[in-house]
Amino acid sequence: MRAWVLARKDLQVYFRDRVAVLLGFGLPIALATVFAGAMGAIGGGDSVGRVELVVEDRDQSDASRALVEELGRSDGLRLDVLEPGSADTARERVASGDAPAGLSIGAGFADALAKGVELPLVLARDPGKVIEQQIIAGNLIPAFFGALGDALGPRMGARVLETLDFPLVGRERAQTILDDTWQRMESLVGDIEDADEAPADGDPAKRSDEGGASGDFDFATAVGSVLGLQVEDVVGGGEHAELQKRAQQANAVAGMAVMMLLFGLVHCGGTLLQEEADGTLDRLRLAPGSASSILFGKVLFSWIVGLSQLVVLFAYGAALFDVPVLRAPLALFVHSAAVAAAVTGFGVLFAVLARSQKQLEGLSTLVVLTMSALGGSWWPLSITPDWYQFLGHFTLNAWAMDGYQGIFWYEKGLSGILPEIGVLVAIAAVAVFLALRLFERRMSVR
């Protein structure tokens, strides 16, 4: 009975604090929504995340068109087919960071297919986008088989044996067995399709799981050998595994840097509320000068702290994880200054919107975690559904991450990341402007 009396009192207190109730129930709902959205669980199977594949068909034959058509039917791929005669190339698109991979179908593809010689197919890849490569590889196999199975199938066995480095002694016998198996599989697939029980191809999660072979076997690379594709890593300029590692580390450092910066600078902005509670804000109001100068003081303070934090973090990242901070130091400094400005704007705006430290903590936790998940601080946006990527770019995290990836991975200079810097500066300007208007209103003599 006594326990119930105590519990009832706590329930009364809890439910009278609307902010606590909102946080207690709203934060898990918001995060669950973001997670589910990222994994493609919202809106049914059609909205499952597709990975972009740029396709450049320079053959324009029936065979090449059939392949492109089949690729387009893959559930896991979002095809961007370049117009014939376009100056743009799949390779350039990948190298500039616009897409994780590009398939170039060279002139003479149909002839090579008919003659059974090496196919002029090049898969340009961004090795830093590890998850995306697995998904692409998993979707290429069914598409190739669907479009070119009759021509490719019999030769597939030989490529598999070559990929596995099968001993020459006995290779002929193994080839015969594989050819026979291929015939049987074709027949089996036909039966399954007739029974309308064929499993949907292109399930990215399933494919990548299947492809995630243990040991040193790289499914994404092996697929190229098996299908007769020439695979080329067009970003990074180093050994494949090392490139992947460096890209992931740079991405992780940048992602966490932006998220933690948001938390830190919301706290800095919160000193405004602390001053109000301590009575020093009234003292500042009583000194000569406008209310806006008080807010600008907070903005400047937060920006300096934020930029210093980024400098320290990237120095640490360079020392421990080889984050290439000296690749474009000016671009890195200017971008970091813009990131710190945008985050500062948010921090100060939150501080002005909140009426107490408790409200500020609740609001910032909710918004910072949601923005970080939406904006790519936790996972690459390129593996999320289209709508998610669209929403993600309404967060400063996405633009900050794009800029850092541009510098660290795509070797862009200041001019290459000007759009990202521009957006971040615009976010900073709008947030500070709104904070200023609200603060002036709050500080006006009323």
């Binding site: 301590d278 009575g279 020093t280 009234d282 003292r283 500042l284 109001r285 009583l286 000194a287 000569p288 000068g289 406008s290 003599v445 009323r446």
Partner: protein
């Protein structure tokens, strides 16, 4: 220092009213403070003292009425007025992570002091508050009394012509209170006008030459102490005090007076607790905060 002999009142208030929703905090208040004077605002909690101070010091807009402070409208001329006044808030308003000198320097800089003027403002503040020896210590290590003195000193860094002191001695030891009284006396000596709010009657009686008593936002009485004593609603009783060398002589005299039909009682001289305390502990400041 300020110009002496200015005849215009420092504060002129007519019909000042402030409402918070349906609650009336200040209700049609009239006030006048002459140059160099000290006006005491007396009243119980919720009487409207702090609201009046906030309006006159530009922090709050009146709902109705007119106010001129140093000849300026607190709402329309707020920026100009703020440069000429000092406000000692009821609650401590200091940066606890900064030292006493850093607090004084920060607020002096906000008031445009630089170089020698800044150094002088800091030195004056430290001397006035008796904190020169603890100048470099963080405020968070100070005792309540030291913080209160610094709280007053910070309001004076711009050498204001008018200072509002809103219950500046709440919760401190008698020594620090005495020092604050000395600070107030020093301000008066240099011609600074003061508005002093308190519900400590003795403080107002001691420091102010004119007193306004507020209750529920309204002015109940105004005047000098003598004028208030003569107020028609204040009952006056005739009291004769006769002093005798011994209690026995006093008792004999008492019997004689009682026979004459007058009410009388024997009261032995009992010093008040404050007098006992100060006599026993002395008037020297005790500045042994947590960090000392």
């Amino acid at each position: 220092m300020h110009e002496e002999g200015t005849k215009a009142p420092v504060i002129e208030v007519r019909g000042l009213t402030r409402r918070f929703g349906s609650r009336v905090a200040v209700d049609g208040l009239d006030l006048t403070l002459a140059a160099g004077g000290c006006l005491g605002l007396l009243g119980p909690n919720g009487a409207g003292k702090s609201t009046t101070v906030r309006i006159l010091s530009t922090l709050l807009r009146p709902t109705a009425g007119e106010a001129r402070v140093l000849g300026l409208d607190p709402v329309a001329d707020g920026a100009r007025l703020r440069a000429r006044i000092g406000v000692v808030p009821q609650d401590l308003a200091l940066y606890e992570q900064l030292s006493a000198a850093e607090n004084l320097a920060f607020f002096a800089r906000l008031h445009g002091r630089t170089g020698a003027a800044l150094d002088a403002a800091v030195a004056n503040g430290l001397a006035l508050s008796g904190l020169a020896e603890r100048a470099a210590d963080r405020v968070k290590t100070f005792s309540g009394g030291m913080k209160r003195r610094l709280n007053v000193a910070v309001a004076l860094v711009n050498e204001p012509e008018l200072v509002f002191l809103d219950e500046p001695t709440v919760g401190i030891d008698p020594q620090s209170r005495e020092r604050i009284f000395e600070m107030v006396a020093a301000l008066r000596a240099r011609g600074t006008a003061l508005v002093y709010t308190s519900h400590q009657l003795g403080e107002v009686e001691r420091l102010c030459d004119r007193i306004v008593i507020l209750d529920r936002g309204r002015k109940v009485a105004e005047g000098t102490l003598a004028e208030l004593q003569a107020h028609p609603r204040v009952q006056r009783r005739g009291t004769a005090v006769l002093r005798f060398g011994s209690t026995g002589e006093a008792r004999t005299a008492l019997e004689l007076v009682e026979r004459a039909g007058a009410a009388c009682a024997l009261e032995e001289d009992q010093p008040g607790l404050e007098r006992i305390f100060l006599d026993l502990t002395g008037r020297a400041l005790r500045d042994e905060g947590e960090g000392s």
